[in-house]
């Protein structure tokens, strides 16, 4: 087995192994790159409801009255008053913010985006622990794939041919961007 054959076997098999994670990291990368425009983890919905104003002054009575008017039969996870005129009721994935004097209620629902939430957690290494090790291995695999990829072909299509121009272009791009970024200030 010559070195190029070994190189190609490594490139191919590591590539097969890395497909799953590459999709996870790629899709999540696109999603979190644009987090200024949307929430990549949660689907957030805000609706406004109106109930009769709540006149009670005791905390327990306020909660009881608010729940009755909102038709919330289940016990909330918690209730909190950030200020004298507001009551917040917390349920799983839902928060009710009641303006006591007016009866205006903001219902905020935050549900994890299926699949994308999990992908983002892995991509951003939220679990830490053993996942750090897996992510490190994947990073090494990417480097190995990149390096071995340069030597898969020889000749006109290989590194000696057009490959060297493409590799140079790929290396120059981040360098040029960084210079532009520094100059721009």
């Amino acid at each position: 087995m010559n070195w190029r054959h070994l190189n190609n076997v490594l490139h191919r098999d590591i590539g097969y192994l890395a497909v799953g994670l590459t999709i996870v990291y790629g899709v999540s990368g696109l999603a979190v790159n644009h987090k200024a425009d949307w929430n990549p983890n949660y689907r957030m919905e805000k609706t406004v409801r109106r109930i009769a104003p709540i006149a009670a002054t005791e905390r327990a009575a306020i909660i009881k009255e608010a729940r009755a008017r909102l038709g919330l039969t289940a016990e909330p996870r918690n209730a909190f008053r950030p200020d004298p005129e507001t009551l917040r009721l917390f349920y799983e994935h839902q928060t009710y913010s009641v303006d006591l004097p007016t009866g205006a209620v903001i219902v905020e629902v935050a549900r994890p985006r299926p699949v994308l939430y999990e992908m983002n957690q892995l991509h951003l290494n939220t679990p830490k622990g053993i996942w750090t090790f897996v992510a490190d291995l994947y990073a090494v695999a990417l480097i190995v794939m990149g390096v071995t990829g340069m030597f898969v072909l020889k000749g006109r299509l290989g590194l000696g041919g057009r490959g060297k121009w493409l590799v140079t272009a790929g290396c120059v791009l981040p360098l040029l961007y960084w210079i532009w970024y520094l100059v721009r200030g």
């Binding site: 909190f80 917040r88 917390f90 994935h93 994890p112």
Partner: protein, 175 residues
């Protein structure tokens, strides 16, 4: 074979149910033994400034952008305390709202002058963010998001210097 799969699924469900009941740990383990009341910190902020404390209370808000802070309800009504971690150190989930948190970190007390509040309002920051980044830094993206969500300081509400208290930490347990 089917029996093995069913048993494995039942075991996995039982384990996950057990894990759900236990406190979920974020970041570094908690080390401070004694719990400080949030109301005590509010009563004497200068006494706690720079001190490492452990506090507990319901999670009443979570950073929807990066999950990098939670607001904890005090033992007294109408008081909340923000627990801030460096971006990426801990990512708090939005569905932590309403659960009980125990957090540990260093109390930070910042007094924002009227001029600083006006500058923060102009930059699209809220008081907490202005206090957090009083030393400067590039937080343009965050400021733009706050401006979009209208969470910035209302210049009309500025009456005088404002004291902002938060805890900067690395560890939390939420249940």
């Amino acid at each position: 074979m089917r029996r093995v799969i069913v048993s494995a699924l039942v075991l996995a469900l039982a384990t996950s149910a057990g894990l759900a009941a236990a406190a979920k740990k974020y970041g570094k383990p908690l080390t401070v033994k004694e719990t400080t009341k949030i109301s005590d910190i509010y009563a004497q902020p200068d006494q706690f400034n720079g001190k490492r404390v452990k506090v507990q209370g319901p999670v009443v808000d979570v950073c929807s952008s990066r999950g990098c802070w939670i607001a904890i309800g005090s033992d007294k009504e109408f008081q909340t305390l923000r627990f801030k971690v460096d971006d990426g150190v801990i990512v708090f989930p939005m569905d932590a709202k309403g659960l009980n948190a125990v957090v540990e970190g260093v109390v930070s007390v910042t007094t924002l002058s009227v001029e600083e509040q006006l500058a923060a309002a102009k930059a699209g920051q809220d008081a907490m963010m202005a206090a957090q980044h009083a030393g400067g830094g590039d937080h343009k993206e965050m400021a733009e998001k706050m401006a979009k969500e209208k969470k910035t300081i209302d210049p009309a509400s500025i009456k005088g210097p404002k004291t902002v208290i938060m805890i900067k930490g690395e560890g939390a347990e939420i249940q």
